[in-house]
Structures are given as structure tokens and as C-alpha cells.
Amino acid sequence: MSTSALSYAGWMENGTTVVREDPAASHAAIAALVHQYAGTMYRVAFSVLRNSADAEDAVQEAYLRVLRHSSQLAELRDPRVWLIRIVWNVVLDRKRRTKTRPETDDLAEMERVLPAGGLTADEHVAAGQHRATVLRAVDQLPAKEREVLVLSAFEELSSVEIAQVLNTTESTVRSRLFRARKLMAELLGHTRGSR
């Protein structure tokens, strides 16, 4: 557990009743959650939505849900997983509701957001095509395998935590990840073969 998480846990232990009764304490608790986990939640949202504005909007909506359920804050064991789960559900809802954007928009947004890292113009173009190939293959995966693969890219999330976010078991996560990698290899090989 990180220092911030420890301090959060300490706050919860000390202020279980305070959070429920005192709105000021509840505001302070939510402010602490924003400070600690807003970045993580934004990255989770961006990995699915691939758009900066949409991801930020999803994070804000997730925190609004937290505000609505602030009475549950004192009962939380792991606020990080709880928050990621909330933003994950928000993101999936948005993805279902909104129409799919053109792939070029996603790639342009990624080029804008991702660091260039001193690449030459040719390398930059090649990197963009590489990302486009990968994202196209990811989009072709079945939903369950795709979700596990996207979440597994977050080094801060263990397979147990991914299982908690997806409301399933760790063994299911592992088997889905195995299937996702296998399918990705097939898709990328097929892409390579078609060229």
C-alpha cells in the first residue's frame, strides 16, 4: 500500500462517523480521492475512449457518482479499485452509447497526447501506423478479452485487482488474457500476411 493509500486508510479508520455525518469531512475525503486517483482514472478512461475530452468527462462523471454515494466511503477497503471500477463502468456506458469515431480521429488524438520522444518525421509516421495496426487488432477482439488486455496494460493493476474491477475471478482473468494474446497474435499475423 502506498503512503497516500495508507493516509487514506487512516483517515477512514479515524473518521468513519465523521464522514457520514459531517459534509465538510466528506468533501475533504473526496478531495483526497481526486488528488490521489484522478490521473489513474483518466488513463483508464483514455485507454478505452482514446479521446482526451471524453476521458476527462468520464472521470468527472465518475467523481460525481462518488459524490452521490459518499456515504459508502467509510466502508471502502480499497478506494483505488473502487474508483477504477466506477470509471470503468462509466466508460463502457459511454462507449456503448456514443457512435464510433473514425479511426483517424483516434490516431490524431494519440499523436497529440503521446510524447514524440525525439523521433524523426519518418519514424513518427511509422510509429503512427504501428499504433493504428495494434488498435485495429484490439478492436477486433471479443469484448471480454479486449477488456482484460486493456486493463493488463496498467502496471499498477494486479490480476486480482483486474478481477475486482471486472467483477470476476483471477483465474478467469488469466484465461481471458491468454486467449486475448493468442487472438492478437493471429490477428497481427493475418494483418501481416495480408500486406
Binding site: V34, A38, V113, L114
Partner: protein
């Protein structure tokens, strides 16, 4: 078709996803979140508080449902004891006594209060005569057949009376 692209392996694809997962958050994200939360709180405080909030009941939906169910149970008990079984046993009395029942339960004249605080005629129930047998005294048929003169008198006197009455009414009209 692009022949310059090198083949992409699964490891490279995962590296790309990892890169996506490390996107830096935009500047001012936390400030904008705080601003939106503040706006939501303001909006929430502007709206009228609910019944439970005004009564000082705070808690989740489960607690509120429990309170509502308790209130309903109390109301049901009060209603049950305020009007105690007023229809129980009454149908049995009407069945046994028959036409005597209307005499036992007088027709309501005016709603007056009794000692218990309720209306006196609150227990009154109308019993349709079709549901209870009407005891009509048997007609003495033998007497009618045996005494012919009496019967004839009875038959003749009645129409006579009915005849005289219209004549009395029509009398003054024919006089002029």
C-alpha cells in the same frame, strides 16, 4: 498497401497499450473536477430537501425503505384498532333474526357522537328484504270460500268506494 511496415508482434502490441496506459493527465484536470463537484454540490443544496432529510433521517436507501415500511405498519395498526371488526358477526345475526334486524338497527337520523367518540349509526347495515324471508300472515282462504255473502260484500263495496271518489272529484267540475 504499405510494404515498409515491419511486422508487429504481440509484445510490441502490448507495449503500445502500455504506452496508452501511461498517458499523462491534462493540465488542470483536478481543478476542473473540483469545480464540477462544487457545482454539483451547489445544485444539490439548491434543490428542496426530501422528506427524510427534513425529518433528520440520513442513510442509505435501505434505511429509508425500512422507515417507510415502519410508518405503514403503524398506520395499519392504528386503523385496525380504531375500527375493530365491525362487520364480524353481523351477517350471522341477520341470518338468524331475519326481518327483525331493521328494528334492532334503527335508521340513521342524524350523526351524533356516542361515548366512544364514534358515530352511533356507524354499525348500521342495510339488509335487503330479498335476502331474508318475509313472514306474511297466511290468507284465510277457507273463510273466503265458505262465506260467499261476505266475499261478495267485500268485492262489491270496494269498487263502489272507488267509483264514488272520482265522482266526488268530478262533481264540482260538472256543476257549471
Amino acid at each position: 498497401m504499405d510494404h515498409t511496415n515491419p511486422p508487429v508482434t504481440v509484445e510490441q502490441a502490448e507495449e503500445t497499450l502500455r504506452l496508452l496506459a501511461q498517458v499523462p493527465e491534462p493540465d488542470g484536470l483536478q481543478d476542473r473536477i473540483h469545480a464540477r463537484l462544487a457545482a454539483a454540490r451547489l445544485e444539490e443544496s439548491d434543490t428542496r430537501p426530501g422528506l427524510f432529510a427534513r425529518l433528520g433521517i440520513r442513510g442509505g436507501m435501505g434505511l429509508r425503505l425500512a422507515v417507510a415500511a415502519g410508518c405503514l405498519a403503524v398506520v395499519a395498526l392504528v386503523v385496525e384498532f380504531a375500527f375493530p371488526h365491525r362487520y364480524n358477526g353481523l351477517p350471522a345475526q341477520t341470518a338468524s333474526h331475519g326481518p327483525v334486524l331493521p328494528a334492532q338497527v334503527p335508521a340513521p337520523t342524524s350523526p351524533t357522537l356516542d361515548a366512544s367518540g364514534g358515530f352511533q349509526t356507524s354499525g348500521a347495515q342495510r339488509v335487503p328484504p330479498t335476502l331474508t324471508p318475509l313472514h306474511v300472515a297466511p290468507v284465510p282462504k277457507k273463510r273466503l270460500h265458505s262465506g260467499k255473502s261476505g266475499a261478495k260484500k267485500a268485492t262489491t263495496t270496494k269498487p263502489a268506494a272507488s267509483r264514488t271518489q272520482p265522482a266526488a272529484i268530478a262533481g264540482p267540475a260538472q256543476q257549471p
